[in-house]
């Protein structure tokens, strides 16, 4: 079976799902990738049986051939899937992308910190003053693509390295409603501290305890084992292919997941 992944625009969750396919270890499945202009000749040369794409608003991939079209683009078709519409029967719940956590001893200093945050910390207001004050001696690192002239700003970092920062920080700040980041922190064995938007004093106490006493925290409803078992990009790819009736491909995805996770 030949599967063509067509990338209309770069979108993190879509990339994560199609990247699972490259882990398939069976000669029965051939995977092709295409992006940019749709070149009908190259598509017919490859002659795919399945096309998985993210073209906005399209319920079918625009080719005449009888190809199974899987649409990851929030449309309402039978083979369409949504990351946003919770009422959709083909809703894809938030998931994590498995990434390396291990860091060589020689590099560990690069990823160490007392508190880490991915994003702009200006929402933290009073808490930010605490984190960036020299007298508190908190080694705070934050990363975002917009330069900030604030102590603790460290530049931009590759999303592949988020888990290493979470894993090597004594605490990882996260907004209460940022499910994606919470899952990332939990799966990378980080130490999450939830910011609700107003719990400044509580966060300061939690940070002090995490930094000075190595206290570990957990968040109700998020367990590392459960996330690894049910909420990875492999599980969502499995859900997609099971839903459209490609059961053998779905099984290969799960095999690839086990291999992937056991080897990294």
């Amino acid at each position: 079976m030949k599967i063509l992944c067509y990338r209309s625009s770069s979108e993190f969750h879509f990339e994560s799902i199609i990247s699972c396919l490259s882990n398939i270890n069976s000669p029965k499945f051939q995977i092709g990738y295409l992006s940019g202009e749709i070149n009908l000749k190259s598509i017919s040369d490859f002659s795919p049986d399945v096309i998985i794409h993210n073209i906005q608003g399209s319920e079918k991939f625009p080719v005449k051939e009888n190809i199974i079209s899987i649409n990851i683009n929030e449309t309402k078709g039978k083979n369409s899937f949504s990351f946003k519409d919770k009422s959709s029967s083909n809703f894809l719940k938030p998931f994590v992308t498995l990434k390396q956590v291990h860091v060589d001893d020689a590099e560990i200093e690069k990823f160490k910190s007392d508190v880490v945050y991915i994003g702009s910390p200006t929402i933290f207001k009073d808490l930010l003053s605490f984190l960036t004050s020299e007298k508190n001696d908190i080694r705070f690192k934050f990363f975002t693509h917009v330069p900030h002239n604030i102590n603790g700003y460290c530049g931009m970092c590759d999303s592949k390295e988020y888990f290493k920062f979470y894993n090597n920080a004594k605490a990882s700040l996260v907004r209460e409603n940022d499910i994606q980041r919470i899952m990332d922190i939990v799966i990378s064995d980080g130490n999450p501290i939830l910011f609700t938007g107003s719990n400044y004093d509580e966060c300061i106490t939690l940070i002090k305890d995490a930094v000075n006493k190595n206290i570990r925290y957990s968040i109700d409803g998020y367990k590392r084992e459960d996330i690894i078992k049910n909420d990875t990009s492999f599980d969502r790819a499995y859900q997609i292919f099971r839903t459209v009736g490609l059961n053998k491909l779905a099984e290969e995805i799960i095999k690839a997941k086990n291999l992937h996770w056991n080897t990294k």
Binding site: I150, G155, M156
Partner: protein, 151 residues
């Protein structure tokens, strides 16, 4: 002492003004070989009483000192195949002004082949926070004598 100072270009900037003033006043009464290396070609905003080279000349700049004031220039000088001492006279905390990758900033600032000199004591804490490195010296106003003496 044989020294090359790296500049982005010869247009006006706070650092290029300081550096060119320092060179011009220094070469008047000294036999030290001091030159400039510019990464971009522009018309100079002031007379420069020293030779100006392109960055590719750095590969044959041996037995001297190469001073850069920006992290991306320091990255280039560290990649040069010469035996000169490399100095980063960090004028500003570059990554807080322009988008930069943490890995690049960290790798340059922690490179033990690089002498790290800061312009301001205010820069010590952010650098310690970022990469746990203390500077080799703090020189508040750009001065070749002070930088040479700190090495």
């Amino acid at each position: 002492m044989k020294t090359a100072i790296c500049l982005e270009n010869l247009s006006y900037s706070a650092f290029s003004k300081e550096a060119i003033s320092e060179i011009n006043s220094h070469v008047t009464n000294s036999i030290d070989e001091v030159c400039l290396v510019t990464f971009d070609e522009t018309m100079p905003f002031a007379n420069v009483n020293a030779a100006v080279f392109a960055p590719n000349e750095l590969d044959s700049f041996h037995n001297g000192i190469i001073i850069s004031h920006k992290i991306n220039h320091a990255m280039s000088t560290l990649g040069c195949s010469n035996n000169s001492k490399k100095v980063l006279y960090l004028y500003d905390l570059d990554w807080m002004i322009e988008p930069m990758m943490y890995n690049d900033v960290y790798d340059v600032l922690t490179d033990r082949n690089l002498n790290l000199i800061l312009r301001s004591e205010d820069h010590v804490y952010p650098i310690k926070n970022l990469c746990n490195r203390e500077p080799d010296a703090i020189v508040k106003n750009f001065s070749l004598e002070k930088i040479w003496n700190s090495l």
